[in-house]
């Protein structure tokens, strides 16, 4: 049995605390994800999956509960400490790609390594290798607006892998792509999971995509309603 890499313990997220429109989005969620798992989090829009993803990705802090990432309790961390953990432990793949415009594919992939303080030569070499891995070696000096959706998403996967993170967090990665390119992106994720042993958390509203993964966690109204093929919590 491998170590648990993400441990979410009774996490509650409330917005607009103390105001008239106070809203609890997540109600005491508990999730435990082991290293090397490929997990899909599914739910209809408004179910709270984006909020959950922000918490897993350390972009947002839970109102209550505890989140342990790779054995580190993140509850009382300062913003800059969270930045550091995001930088080295989490690779993000967004639905809208979120590449920085007017920066070449290569520079975009180098960005997380730059913030980690890796020297220029080393990070260029690594970025080239990663772009090669996703089949983008011939478009390294293209800017995002010169790339198709599938190509952009491949660049952002390469960027997510830049600092060898423990987990890859993909938020609707195929949402803006057609079926064929979406398939290609999913294949890359499978490859990263099987060959590189990355833990992948896929957030999607598509049941079809979720079927491909090892484990499906379904969220509705801020609660987990099913956890198929999962482990006991």
């Amino acid at each position: 049995m491998s170590e648990s890499i993400i441990r979410i313990d009774n996490v509650v997220k409330t917005f607009n605390i103390g105001m008239e429109n106070e809203l609890e989005i997540l109600h005491k969620i508990c999730i435990d994800i082991k290293e090397g798992e490929f997990v899909a989090i599914v739910g209809s829009s408004g179910a709270g999956k984006s909020t959950l993803m922000n918490i897993i990705g350390l972009l947002d802090k839970p109102t209550a509960g505890r989140y342990t990432l790779n054995g580190i309790d993140t509850s009382n961390m300062k913003d800059d400490e969270l930045s550091e953990i995001r930088n080295s432990q989490i690779g993000f793949v967004f639905q809208t790609f979120n590449l920085i415009p007017r920066m070449t594919a290569l520079k975009n992939v180098e960005l997380p390594m730059m913030y980690k303080g890796i020297p220029q030569k080393e990070r260029t070499a690594k970025a080239k290798k990663l772009l090669e891995m996703v089949g983008m070696d011939d478009r390294m000096s293209h800017q995002p607006n010169q790339l198709s959706g599938g190509q952009k998403q491949r660049v952002s996967i390469a960027r997510a892998m830049a600092n060898d993170p423990a987990i890859i967090l993909a938020d609707e990665p195929t949402g803006a792509l057609d079926t064929v390119t979406g398939r290609m992106i999913m294949d890359i994720f499978h490859k990263l999971n099987k060959e590189n042993g990355k833990t992948i958390v896929l957030i999607t509203h598509s049941r079809e995509l979720a079927q491909e993964t090892d484990r499906i966690i379904t969220i509705s109204d801020g609660k987990i309603i099913s956890d198929k093929g999962g482990y006991e919590i």
């Binding site: 995001r86 960005l111 730059m114 913030y115």
Partner: protein, 429 residues
């Protein structure tokens, strides 16, 4: 993120918005160039004024015989022995060679001479000391001035005006020619130099051919002709060497005369530097230049506000970029540094362009001023050296100011960017 990476990033984001970056710089360009121009005008005026003042002989060092105890009730009568003698002055010049020149002049008489066509020309004969030329702002155009040696050895040398050279009408150069002067005194002199005399030359060219000009001969020659070679003075003016600190020259002369008058119970020599008066005028010009530069500096503040405005817009526009950077692990510090670097670079480039423009306008104004001086006041133009002198201090201060404006007006937008919450920033469309 290294400093160099910050700079590279700043340049690439400036390239994204070339027009806007330029317009932001424009405020700084105008501010810096006006500060440079105004302070340069100030320093140019200061230099021109002090040059002309020194040139007009206002910066002489004056020696006067004064009573030691001028409060005493019984006035002492001054005797020949208390006066400054020619030997004393020669001694001073020998002790400090090159530091002082005598400026004394002595008018002899009107003389007549014959030119190459046997026509009579009238000349005014003046005995001079070497310093007389600088003292009266006369410039040599050919040959040499009357030297201390000419005076000491009572040589029969002369410097004539350029009008006389034309009146003499020889095809060869007048230098080296011996001319005889006749009148009350009859003597011969050899021409060693020609001085410029624009005003008379103009009249001569307009047809006034019989104009009389001054011929300059050694001071001692005139003294000898008049029969009073051993002159004594109660008051003497000296032309100081402009390259030596006048303060030192005053002290030197004072010490020299104190030594000579050590035994004189009633009289001593007072050495006075007339250049001091000029200095207080240049201080006034300095103050005016600083005051006007400060007014020009107000436009710098306006430019700085422009930079802040644009940086704020830029932060809002790049909200999602900031969000991405933060998600990927950028710390507060790195985001802040990125935006501050950008505003500092905008200001520095603006400042540099401003300095260049300021220098160009300084030289352009100098050129215009020179032209106007030559057309409107031709007779004095020759004696005024107008040289545009950009103020180096103003340039250095401008560079420092540009950096400071960048930091001060860039840091509040940068702080705003750095404080952004990554999810809010990512969600921003």
């Amino acid at each position: 993120m290294t400093f160099f990476e910050c700079i590279k990033m700043a340049f690439s984001s400036m390239r994204m918005n070339k027009m806007r970056s330029f317009l932001t710089m424009l405020g700084i360009i105008i501010g810096i160039s006006s500060v440079i121009t105004i302070s340069s005008i100030g320093s140019t005026i200061k230099k021109t004024v002090s040059n002309s003042m020194f040139g007009f002989g206002m910066a002489t060092i004056d020696l006067s015989v004064i009573e030691r105890d001028y409060t005493s009730s019984t006035p002492v009568k001054i005797t020949e022995n208390d006066m400054i003698t020619y030997e004393m002055l020669e001694g001073l010049l020998e002790e400090y060679p090159g530091d002082y020149e005598l400026v004394a002049s002595d008018y002899l008489d009107t003389c007549e001479t014959i030119n190459s066509k046997n026509e009579a020309i009238v000349l005014d004969v003046m005995g001079i000391q070497p310093g007389y030329m600088n003292y009266t702002m006369k410039k040599m155009v050919k040959g040499r001035n009357i030297t201390a040696r000419d005076v000491k050895e009572t040589k029969h040398t002369a410097v004539v005006s350029e009008v006389f050279e034309l009146q003499y009408g020889n095809d060869e150069s007048i230098i080296g020619k011996t001319i005889s002067l006749n009148g009350t005194y009859n003597f011969e002199v050899t021409v060693v130099g020609v001085y410029s005399d624009k005003k008379t030359l103009q009249k001569y060219n307009l047809g006034e051919k019989n104009i009389s000009t001054t011929i300059l001969t050694p001071y001692s020659l005139v003294g000898k002709l008049k029969g009073n070679q051993k002159t004594k003075f109660g008051y003497v003016e000296l032309q100081p060497n402009p390259e030596v600190d006048p303060g030192i020259l005053v002290i030197q002369a004072q010490q020299y005369f104190d030594r000579l008058y050590e035994r004189n119970e009633n009289w001593e020599i007072n050495v006075f530097d007339c250049g001091e008066a000029t200095k207080s005028l240049t201080v006034v010009i300095d103050i005016l230049a600083i005051a006007f530069s400060l007014i020009a500096a107000i436009s710098l503040i306006v430019g700085g506000v422009g930079v802040m405005n644009i940086m704020l817009v830029s932060v809002v526009e790049r909200t999602s970029e900031i969000g991405i950077r933060k998600a990927l692990g950028a710390k507060t510090k790195s985001i802040k540094r990125q935006f501050v670097t950008e505003s500092v670079i905008i200001c520095l480039i603006g400042g540099t362009i401003g300095i260049i423009f300021g220098l160009i306008s300084t030289y352009a104004l100098g050129f215009i001023a020179k032209y106007m001086l030559n057309t409107l006041a031709a007779d004095v133009a020759e004696s005024i050296t107008l040289e545009p002198t950009p103020s180096l201090l103003a340039i250095i201060i401008s560079v420092i100011c540009s950096v400071l404006i960048g930091v001060i007006f860039g840091s509040s937008p940068a702080k705003r960017a750095a404080k952004m919450n990554p999810i809010d920033a990512l969600r921003f469309e």
